[in-house]
Symmetry: C2
Subunit: 287 residues, 2 copies
Amino acid sequence: MLDEKDWFTEVVDTAGSAFSLRIRRKLHAEQTPYQSIAVYETEHFGNLMVIDGFTMLSSRENFLYHEMLAHPVLFTHPAPRRVCIIGGGDCGTLREVLKHPDVDQVWQVDIDERVTRVAERFFPELTESNADPRAQLLFDDGIRWIRDAEPASLDIIIIDSTDPVGPAEGLFTADFYRNCMAALTEGGLLVQQSESPLYHMDIIAGMVSDLKEAGFSDTRTLFFPQAIYPSGWWSATMARKDRAIGDFRRADVDARPFETRYYNADIHAGALAQPEFFRRRLGGSAR
Amino acid sequence: MLDEKDWFTEVVDTAGSAFSLRIRRKLHAEQTPYQSIAVYETEHFGNLMVIDGFTMLSSRENFLYHEMLAHPVLFTHPAPRRVCIIGGGDCGTLREVLKHPDVDQVWQVDIDERVTRVAERFFPELTESNADPRAQLLFDDGIRWIRDAEPASLDIIIIDSTDPVGPAEGLFTADFYRNCMAALTEGGLLVQQSESPLYHMDIIAGMVSDLKEAGFSDTRTLFFPQAIYPSGWWSATMARKDRAIGDFRRADVDARPFETRYYNADIHAGALAQPEFFRRRLGGSAR
């Protein structure tokens, strides 16, 4: 039995599974107007941020998630200049986006400023690029911000949110996706974290259907490991306005002027491979 | 806190992590001459087999592991006819191997007959091909069996073992790999489960080094999700005698006369993508 004193545990009721990390101490806890935020010092995963009882990220493995949310979509667009991140208050995705020299402006729109302040204190490596003049940190309702965005003003929208319950629920709807369509430039791309392929196929299938209903021409799901999230296997779904997702800029990936820890061109191509059960459920060209 | 009555938990001490499955009841427990075997009925993962306290497989997700241990290596060899499985007593890998019509003979060599008997009772879907006349189930010491095997008599050796502690320790040594080299035909291939890329890079690096020391010409590691194993991310390492691993038979994968649930040609190619941290540690051609 795991003693609550020594372990943080996240239970997934619908899957009858749980993942635990051994902790040394609780470093921080607060209730914001939107959610509860806690930070633990773990034994082997560095610091761990928990929101409303769900693991968000740890120092050890967040690179997998942040790299896969940022680089595939940016290297799929031919020339991404204006990028918006909805959610992403820990700033890890922002840091990856800012590694792309062609990006001119990035808006990060998280409803809860406290997530960013807590990240600055306990995950300083993730917020190290926040002073970049190309970055604007806004603390606002992302759903409203996208609705009010200038039409055809964004090349990329990255939706880096919590699960589709609570504050993030409205980010998983056809209405929201329609507003994203309007805000995107021609050929623009959206990417959204889309939960576990093993646990949440209904959520992924619903997202894909809502994205199509909202008018996106093409979708493609990326798969990657994510140790501290339910099932250890995670996904992100891309959608493109006006055209097929198409190939990514492989030569530019190979020549990228920055370091990554997980992502490279082969990983990008491999993440696009659709498992057979996924292909059968959603169709698609994979064999 | 997870009540022991309702949850099976596997703790990974060296990673300070734990994975738990909610159980309805214990279906079986025994101590064999080699290890302890337990079977639980879980809430959402079907039946769960546990050996010496480590999760081995569940009804829900074993397809990921068994397909990835069998099909990539078999579709890499141009014409695999004689295959041996060391370990693999649950017979799930054997079932996948027997799906290949070109395979003439398969020897499954597990030291502990009780694993197979328990699988027959609680995982009958995995043992459904055991009566295939091409299959020989041997209950013997795999290390000795390989040492005594006729030279150049096997096209493929699949090492489907527990972790490199206890009975399986001798399966992770250069001595064992040298005997595998002798038993393999020209261009023959070995594949071995090689633990978690996130937790066990030292084990993978050691294996690769031992395989080269034993005379294998080339190695290649496959990556795939595995929810109930530590970190949820797993690997298998292939090694080839006398030549490079090379391409796999993509057209034959596309035309395969059997169903899979995870594996297909794109998944095969994708599983070969080396994460950047892995490439940096072990070298290799991935970008």
